[in-house]
Symmetry: C2
Subunit: 336 residues, 2 copies
């Protein structure tokens, strides 16, 4: 038997239940891991609420994208891993089929990889979602280079912090936004060249001041909504605005309340690009490049995951509540 987190209906964090279930054997292209640590993502909050891109086919449903652990069983087709390997999972599978919140987890081998040895288990579960997401937009697509100004909104999220580090590693200049002054100093400490406090400051004006009138070459934004107009105002000629979420539009997946900044787009030749990690995960070549880049940058110490808080597995409900409180800076981890 093994304890796993399941939910029997959509709802707030309290629907998450830690339940004893029989341990399963992996199918041919799967492996089983004994979980050391779990990395939490906002996607799981939406999945728990029934507002995610996909929904459980039936209840009870398992949940969770990211875990680090030790391989304890392998399917008949698995060649690249053996029992005892230290691995972590890439969120490159459907949560309607797999979920990693628990003491053990079955995962498809295509979503499993080793993680750099200089990381703890808590850090090892905190890398793929955040760095691959930021990598895909900033490196694979935008090809940011030395001297580019990269504006990162909602910067205190794990993906936001990952974007700050990746921008620095590429020699470009990360500028972070945060709503209140509370997180300003920690964002500077985390590598931001400048922090714009959007409740107190005019974003386009501050961007112009920081960049000597140039504006942002790349904007990396999970918010969308009406604020897209303001971001377009802060953009440089020919800039790309990546929208990788819909936090600011009404409804969890938006409902047409994001205006396209038409005038600015025509005057500046702006691109507004929808982006999710799925684009990288679903393309073997892109995923291979991405994993290599991130792995090596972690080994070199250019990237280092920032962990907001660690909860025990028994406190999974509190861990989800903490994520929804938006107090955190970085990754929320559950230690098993």
């Amino acid at each position: 038997m093994s304890r796993v987190v399941r939910f029997h209906k959509f709802g707030d964090a309290s629907v998450l239940k830690l339940e004893e279930v029989p341990e399963q054997a992996p199918k041919s292209d799967e492996l089983r891991i004994k979980v050391d640590a779990i990395g939490l993502n906002r996607a799981e909050v939406l999945f728990r609420e029934g507002k995610y891109l996909e929904r459980p086919p039936s209840f009870p449903s398992s949940i969770g994208y990211e875990a680090s652990g030790t391989v304890t069983a392998i399917g008949s087709n698995v060649k690249d891993f053996k029992i005892g390997d230290k691995v972590s999972t890439i969120p490159a599978f459907s949560m309607s089929k797999y979920g990693v919140y628990g003491e053990t987890a079955i995962v498809p081998v295509s979503a499993v990889t080793t993680y750099p040895k200089n990381l703890s288990a808590e850090e090892g579960t905190s890398i793929w979602m955040q760095y691959l997401t930021a990598y895909g937009a900033l490196i694979e697509y935008a090809k940011i280079k030395k001297g580019d100004f990269v504006l990162i909104t909602a910067a205190s999220s794990s993906v936001g912090l990952a974007a700050i580090q990746l921008t620095r590693a590429a020699g470009a200049i990360p500028i972070a936004t945060t709503r209140t002054a509370k997180k300003k100093q920690v964002l500077l400490d985390a590598g931001a060249e400048a922090v714009i406090v959007t409740d107190d400051e005019n974003l386009p004006e501050r961007m112009r001041a920081i960049t000597s009138g140039h504006g942002a070459d790349v904007i990396f934004d999970p918010v969308a909504g009406p604020y897209l107009d303001t971001l377009a105002e802060a953009a440089a000629q020919g800039a790309t605005i990546f929208v990788y979420g819909s936090l600011g539009s009404s409804g969890s997946l938006g409902s047409g309340q994001t205006p396209f900044p038409l005038i600015a787009a025509l005057k500046k030749g702006l691109k507004v690009q929808g982006y999710t990690l799925f684009e990288i995960n679903s393309d073997p070549d892109k995923l291979k490049r991405a994993k290599k880049y991130v792995f090596e940058a972690i080994e070199k110490g250019q990237l280092k995951p920032i962990i907001a808080k660690v909860f025990p597995l028994e406190k999974i409900v509190d861990a989800h509540r903490y994520m929804e409180s938006n107090q955190q800076l970085g990754k929320i981890v559950v230690k098993v």
Copy 2:
């Protein structure tokens, strides 16, 4: 003395007046041409109405971007042209400084070029705005290739027809939209692989049928407005939607009434890219590549301007009214 078209106030086509003015001498980086033919553009309608990106610094104002003609005087710095050369103008100047509607025109040398010898004067004035505009989006940026599906909206405009021809020349597949069935056959004759009549047909459904479910790889749209959602629905995974105008948004330059298709953009990784010819014209390298590509494709017969109707200079008011009637297929030309 020379007759030129000027306007003394913003308004409908009737504000355009054919007036006698003294012939001017070109400044050092300018040349004077005796105009053979003038190509009309929607930009000039907006400029006449006071709704364009730029406005006249004072009245009376001259007007017009495109003319073909013969060089009759050159400024002291002009090296690449001599008196008697057959040339046409590229809309790479400010209409607040220069206007080519008239028997003669002064233009900056940077906006003057020869045109292929296999074209008449009427055709020679009908190439740069339309082909450079379509080239910049489709070739310079989207790099369309054999087999790509390119959806061209408002396809019976001169730029739309140019896009159909450029798409064909690149080996890609042009699919045109038009509002009513009236222009369907002429668009097929003009090179469209298929024509979608948007008043009668469901655009995303028809696109899926035509492309065996694939959708449009590139969309080239001067309309914007709420229809952008429908275009996003017709787009393929990873598609780019170029928005190069604002015909469908309220107000001549739009007023925030274009929704960003957020859900489709996230699911498909769509790019929505604002685009104007200014991006090509303002970059000497891009402009050089563009001119060479278009020039050679015209010489090879891959591109051939379609002329909707020719008016005499005395009928400039009627020519503008005809443009505003949206009856035309292709370029409206004024013969001097």
